[in-house]
C-alpha cells in the first residue's frame, strides 16, 4: 500500500464528504427552521443534475449548466413549498414523510417521462478535465479538487449568511421562536419559501457537480439522500456545523473503509475472503458509526436535546 494511494483515497473521501455537506446543509436547515422532514430533497438533487445535463447539452457551457442547476432546483423547491410543503408544517412527521415520499414518486416518474430511462451524461469542462500535480508528486483530477473547493466555499458562504446577514438573523430567529418573529413583522411564509428554495438550490448544485463524475439518471438522489440523513443524524439535526463535521466524517469513513478494510483483513486471512468480508463490512461502516454516535450522544454530535 503506497502513501500516494492513501492520500488519493483521503482526497476522494474529502470530496465525497464535501458533496454530502452541500446536500445535508439544506436538509438540516429546513428541519431546523421549519421542523420539516423532507424525503424529496433527493429529487431536488436529481432535478439539478438533469437541468445541468440539459443546458450543458444545449450550450456546451459548464458554468451555464451549474447556473441552470441552481435555478431549476431553487424554482422547483419554491413551487413545491408553496403548493405542498407549506400545508405540512403543522402536521406530524408521519404526514410529512408520506407527502414527501409521494413527491419522490411524482418527481422520479415525471423525470422518467420527460427524459426516458437512459442515463444522461454531463462532461467535466475542458479547463478542469486534466490532473493537477499536488505537492509530493500526487496527480489528482482537477475537477474533484474543484468540487472540494466549491463545497468549502458553500460552507463558508452559509456560515457568513447565517451569522452576518439580516436573512441569517431571521433564519436563526425562526429556528428558536417562529411566533415571535412573525409578531415582529417578518413575513414568515416568505422566509420559509426562501429557506426551502435555498436548500433546494444547494441540493441541485450538488446534483450537477456529482452528475459530471457519475451519470445523470432517475433515482440518483436516493442513495445520497439517505447518506445525508445519516450525516444530519450524526451531526445533530438543525446544526450546520454538525452537518459539516459529520459529512466529512462520513465521507472519509466510507471511502477509507472501503479501501483499508480489505487490506486490513488480508493480513489475517486469505485475500479472496478478506476482499469479501472487507467490502461487506465497509458498506455497513457508516451505519455502525451512526449507531455508535447515537449510543454516546442520542441527539447527535452538535444537536440540542429538544
Amino acid at each position: 500500500m503506497s502513501m500516494i494511494l492513501l492520500i488519493e483515497q483521503a482526497l476522494n473521501g474529502l470530496q465525497f464528504g464535501v458533496m454530502l455537506f452541500v446536500m445535508a446543509a439544506g436538509l438540516t436547515l429546513v428541519f431546523g427552521v421549519m421542523g420539516l422532514i423532507n424525503l424529496a430533497h433527493g429529487s431536488l438533487y436529481m432535478i439539478g443534475a438533469f437541468a445541468a445535463a440539459t443546458v450543458a447539452g444545449l450550450t456546451g457551457s459548464f458554468l451555464l449548466a451549474l447556473a441552470a442547476s441552481l435555478a431549476a432546483a431553487a424554482a422547483a423547491g419554491a413551487i413545491v413549498e408553496i403548493a405542498v410543503i407549506r400545508r405540512l408544517y403543522a402536521r406530524d412527521h408521519l404526514d410529512q414523510v408520506l407527502a414527501t415520499f409521494a413527491l419522490i414518486l411524482i418527481f422520479s416518474e415525471g423525470t422518467r417521462w420527460l427524459f426516458g430511462s437512459f442515463p444522461l451524461f454531463l462532461d467535466t469542462p475542458d479547463w478542469l478535465s486534466g490532473p493537477v500535480e499536488l505537492p509530493g508528486g500526487i496527480l489528482y483530477p482537477a475537477y474533484r479538487l474543484g468540487i472540494i473547493g466549491v463545497g468549502l466555499a458553500v460552507a463558508l458562504g452559509l456560515y457568513l449568511l447565517i451569522s452576518r446577514t439580516r436573512l441569517g438573523i431571521r433564519i436563526r430567529a425562526g429556528e428558536s421562536d417562529r411566533e415571535m418573529i412573525a409578531a415582529l413583522g417578518v413575513d414568515i411564509s416568505k422566509l420559509y419559501t426562501l429557506v426551502f428554495a435555498l436548500g433546494a438550490a444547494l441540493a441541485g448544485l450538488a446534483g450537477a457537480l456529482v452528475g459530471a463524475i457519475q451519470s445523470v439518471q432517475v433515482g440518483m438522489g436516493e442513495p445520497v439522500l439517505i447518506l445525508a440523513f445519516v450525516v444530519i443524524v450524526i451531526g445533530g439535526i438543525g446544526s450546520i456545523k454538525g452537518a459539516l463535521v459529520a459529512s466529512l466524517l462520513v465521507g472519509l469513513t466510507d471511502t477509507m473503509g472501503g479501501f483499508l478494510l480489505p487490506i486490513a483483513f488480508a493480513q489475517v486471512m486469505e485475500p479472496a475472503n478478506a476482499m469479501l468480508l472487507g467490502s461487506a463490512l465497509a458498506s455497513m461502516l457508516i451505519y455502525i458509526l451512526m449507531a455508535v454516535v447515537l449510543i454516546v450522544r442520542p441527539s447527535g454530535l452538535f444537536g440540542v436535546r429538544s
Binding site: 408521519l94 407527502a99 409521494a102 414518486l105 467490502s279 458498506s283
Partner: protein
C-alpha cells in the same frame, strides 16, 4: 356510513370470496394477485402495530421484510441443494418445510427488531424515522455486497416450499395458507390491543411521562411492540419470497419500507384492517394504473399526496367518518 366492525367483516369476506370465485372460473392470475395482497397486508399489519398502536414511525421495516425473505431464501437454497448450512461445530441443514422457515423468519425478524429497536428507541421523533431508515439501508447494502447468497442478483428457489398435507404449488392452496395466517395475526393483534400490554402501549403513544409515573417503562413497552411488529413483518417477508420464489436485495430497499407504510396510511393508521384495505387498494392501483400508463407511479404519488393532505384517517376513516383510528 357503516360501523368499522362490519366493514372489517366485509373486507375479510371479500378478500376470501374474490380469489375463490376467480379460482372457480380458472382466473389463476387473480388468485396470485390476491395472495400478493394478503402477504403485503400482513407486512402492513406488522408495521401498524409499531406505527398505529405504538406511534413509532419506522421507515426501516423493509429490513424485517427482507430478513424474513432471506431466511426463506437461505434455508431453501441449502435445502434444495442438499448442502448443509453448517457442519462445524454441529450440523445445520437447510429445509424446504414452510413451518420451520416461518419459525426461523419470525425469530430472525424479532431479533433484528430487538437490535435495531434497542438502538433506535434511544431517540424519538424525526431522529427515529431517519435512524430506522438508515438501518434498513445498512441491511440493503449488506445484502448487495455479500455474494454468498446471490448478492445484487438475488436468489432463486426453483420449487415452492412445502407445507404438511397441502400442495402449495396450487395457487389457491397457497392463498388459503396465507389468508389463514393473516386472519390469525389480525386476531392476535386484536387481542393484543385489548390486553394490558396493548392498553399500556396506547397510553405510551399519548403520553410517555404519565405512563412512567404509574411505574411502567415506556422503553420496554415500545421495544416489545417493535419486536412483535418486526417478527410479523418478517413472516410476511418469508411468505412473499415463497410467493415469487425469489429473494433479492430489493426486499430491503427503502422503497419497500415506504410501500409498507403506504398500505397502512391508505387504509388508516391504527385501524386493525387498515393495512388490509390499503394493500388491496395499492395492488389494484398498481394493476389498473400499470395497465393504463407506464408511469403509473406518478398517479400513485398524486393520489397519495391527496390522501395525506385531504383524507386524514385513510379509507376506513372516510368510510366510517371517524377522525382518528386510535381511541
Amino acid at each position: 356510513m357503516i360501523a368499522e366492525k362490519h366493514l372489517n367483516w366485509l373486507i375479510a369476506a371479500l378478500l376470501l370470496a374474490v380469489p375463490v370465485c376467480a379460482w372457480w372460473f380458472g382466473e389463476i392470475y387473480t388468485v396470485t394477485l390476491a395472495t400478493r395482497v394478503v402477504v403485503l397486508a400482513l407486512a402492513g399489519v406488522g408495521l401498524n402495530l409499531a406505527l398505529g398502536a405504538g406511534g413509532l414511525v419506522s421507515l426501516g421495516h423493509a429490513a424485517f421484510f427482507g430478513v424474513g425473505g432471506y431466511a426463506m431464501g437461505i434455508l431453501a437454497s441449502h435445502g434444495q441443494n442438499y448442502d448443509p448450512i453448517l457442519t462445524e461445530p454441529f450440523l445445520i441443514e437447510g429445509t424446504k418445510s414452510m413451518p420451520v422457515i416461518w419459525l426461523v423468519a419470525i425469530i430472525a425478524g424479532g431479533l433484528s427488531a430487538l437490535a435495531i429497536g434497542a438502538l433506535s428507541l434511544r431517540t424519538s421523533g424525526v431522529y427515529f424515522i431517519m435512524i430506522t431508515l438508515a438501518f434498513g439501508q445498512m441491511f440493503y447494502y449488506f445484502a448487495i455486497s455479500w455474494p454468498a447468497y446471490g448478492g445484487e442478483d438475488g436468489l432463486s428457489i426453483y420449487v415452492r416450499n412445502g407445507f404438511p398435507g397441502l400442495n402449495t404449488l396450487q395457487p389457491i392452496q397457497y392463498f388459503a395458507l396465507c389468508y389463514v395466517l393473516l386472519i390469525a395475526v389480525l386476531l392476535l393483534c386484536a387481542r393484543l390491543g385489548a390486553s394490558p400490554f396493548g392498553l399500556a402501549l396506547n397510553a405510551v403513544r399519548q403520553s410517555a411521562p404519565r405512563v412512567e409515573t404509574v411505574g411502567l417503562s415506556p422503553l420496554r413497552l415500545r421495544l416489545t411492540a417493535f419486536v412483535i411488529s418486526g417478527a410479523i413483518t418478517a413472516l410476511a417477508g418469508a411468505l412473499f419470497a415463497d410467493l415469487s420464489r425469489f429473494v433479492s436485495p430489493t426486499m430491503f430497499s427503502w422503497h419497500t419500507s415506504g410501500e409498507i407504510m403506504i398500505f397502512v396510511i391508505l387504509g388508516g393508521v391504527g385501524r386493525l384492517y387498515g393495512p388490509v384495505i390499503g394493500a388491496c387498494l395499492f395492488i389494484l392501483l398498481e394493476h389498473w394504473l400499470g395497465g393504463v400508463s407506464e408511469y403509473w407511479q406518478l398517479f400513485l404519488g398524486l393520489l397519495l399526496l391527496g390522501v395525506v393532505l385531504f383524507a386524514r384517517g385513510g379509507v376506513i376513516g372516510v368510510l366510517t367518518r371517524k377522525e382518528a383510528g386510535h381511541g
